[in-house]
């Protein structure tokens, strides 16, 4: 079972205590954007076979949203971090680069 640490309350939570919220760091394109931008915002997803940044909610716990970096192929969890950011923390990215040379995810690499 997937276990993630909630960065707010510190609990090591089983996935049954959490709710997956899909891809993280998506930039919203609303009224006034082009069709292409809106399509990208609504449906364009990284869908990597490898390291992925995701949103999770500690739904049966403190209730807070947070982010996680997880490998979709090996299920390795690199870490979790606060939702109050639009980029993954630099130390987490460094750790992923170290373990996965050539890693790339949207504008982060």
């Amino acid at each position: 079972m997937l276990i993630l640490q909630c960065p707010y309350c510190g609990v090591m939570a089983d996935e049954t205590e959490l709710h997956a919220g899909g891809e993280a760091h998506i930039k919203r394109f609303g009224p006034g954007s082009s069709d292409e931008e809106f399509e990208g915002y609504m449906f364009g997803r990284e869908n990597p076979k490898g390291v992925h940044f995701e949103r999770w909610r500690h739904v049966n716990g403190c209730g807070k949203w947070f982010h996680a970096a997880r490998d979709t192929n090996t299920m390795e969890v690199f870490g979790t971090y606060t939702a109050q950011t639009s980029t993954p923390p630099e130390d987490l990215l460094a750790q992923i680069r170290d373990k996965r040379p050539g890693f790339k995810w949207r504008e982060f690499s």
Binding site: E15, R45, T74
Partner: protein
């Protein structure tokens, strides 16, 4: 190709079964082909078959990273039905269902199609209204389904509990001509027929790149060298996003594991397929007597052909409520497949931004039932540039907002 028949069995029985030939040739790649299909699963092989049968295009290679039919074709719960809400879906799934009826004769390979009926339970008022709507839509589409009473449900499936405390059965959507087939045999039958037409099925050959010139495809780089082609069909289900990336475009697809499990074999007790979408579980009995159980998808992206363990409990809990007699049943195996989900839960059969590259993906949790219809339509699209079956399933629908919304129509299990 030697034809299979009762006579052939008798002949071989007398000869000690020494005269059976390989069902398909183990081919090595030529320098180039007219058409290359990536992915030797059901959809890829069906596409190749109809390219040959309907359009006379036989200079075709089907290349496969693993082994033939080793992906979702060999991992599904073998259910075939066509009771969809939207017209484009009903058209392609009903085409598929009708082709399954004669597939064993067409391919000279017993795919064990069994039109045993599929019953989708309505367990909330909302579901009753939803399925009545689907039954009316199906009547207009020429798909034979009916909405049946709880008493009729009990008649069709005597082992069911229709008056459970939490989700009593309030009715059901019954498609009598739906059913199951032997999933491996579908891939094997198509592979044998393709090989007989002179097509090459190349296994253990992974695509590592797509070569292009002036925006047009010229071939694929593989672990067995470069293979040239005029047209390329990508039919790889769970890894569609990864192969599309090699060709330089992106797909509105996310991959998640979907799991299934199967019990020890028991005596015949249920002669149709029952799907309970509210409590989320579905079940049928295989010819060997095993109860074949479909579970849920994970809530997050994944490529582990395994799935989250807690879904097993949720699925089994729901089914034990619905079928109390299975509570002591032991489960033999559990497995997962990587399904490619689109935003509207409908597939993509489409041209792509790269000239000559076509994509057939996004079948999500319900690809097996569509194999012949998908192959029929996709072959027509690849051969002629247009197919009435696939016209509404283009990639452009996500930009234009013309969704074929089946996530509402079919709930979870489709």
């Amino acid at each position: 190709m030697k034809r299979y028949s009762a006579f052939a069995i008798a002949r071989e029985a007398l000869k000690g079964h020494t005269g059976w030939e390989r069902a398909w040739r183990n081919a090595q790649p030529k320098k180039r082909y007219d058409v290359i299909i990536v992915g030797a699963g059901g959809h890829g092989l069906a596409t190749a078959y109809y390219l040959g049968k309907n359009f006379g295009i036989t200079n075709v290679a089907v290349i496969e990273k693993g082994w033939l039919g080793g992906g979702n074709t060999g991992r599904n719960t073998t259910i075939i039905r066509s009771n969809y809400l939207q017209d484009p879906s009903a058209a392609i799934y009903e085409k598929a269902r009708s082709l399954y009826e004669t597939m064993s004769q067409d391919l000279n390979f017993n795919v064990m199609f069994s039109p045993r009926g599929v019953l989708m339970l309505a367990q909330t008022e909302h579901e009753v209204r939803g399925y009545q709507r689907t039954a009316h839509a199906n009547a207009l589409q020429g798909v034979t389904t009916e909405f049946v009473s709880p008493e009729r449900v009990k008649e069709i499936v005597p082992i069911i509990n229709i008056d459970g405390p939490r989700y009593p059965v309030l009715g059901g959507l019954w498609q009598a001509r739906a059913g199951t087939a032997r999933h491996d045999a579908v891939a094997w039958g198509y592979a044998r027929a393709c090989s007989d037409m002179g097509m090459d099925i190349i296994q253990k050959c992974e695509v590592t790149g797509v070569t292009r010139e002036n925006g047009k495809v010229t071939g694929v780089e593989t672990t067995k060298g470069h293979i040239g082609c005029d047209k390329l069909g990508i039919v790889v289900a769970g890894h569609s996003g990864q192969v599309a990336e090699l060709a330089g475009f992106r797909l509105p697809i996310e991959a998640v594991p979907l799991q299934a499990l199967v019990s020890e074999p028991i005596k015949p007790c249920m002669d149709c397929v029952v799907m309970a979408n509210t409590v989320h579980g579905y079940m049928s009995q295989s010819d060997k007597g095993e109860m074949v159980i479909g579970g849920g998808t994970d809530g997050y992206n994944g490529f582990t052909q395994r799935g989250s363990f807690h879904h097993v409990e949720e699925t089994v809990r729901a089914l034990v409520e619905t079928f109390p007699m299975i509570s002591r049943l032991k489960m033999l195996r559990q497995w997962g497949g990587i399904v490619d989900m689109t935003g509207d839960r409908s597939p993509i059969l489409s041209k792509t931004p790269v000239e000559g590259v076509f994509i057939n993906c996004g079948w999500g949790t319900g690809g097996f039932k569509a194999i012949p219809g998908s192959g029929w339509g996709f072959a027509e699209l690849m051969a002629t540039g247009h197919s009435p079956l696939t016209a509404d399933f283009g990639l452009n629908r996500f930009r234009e907002g013309r969704f074929i919304d089946e996530s509402v129509a079919a709930g979870v299990a489709h």
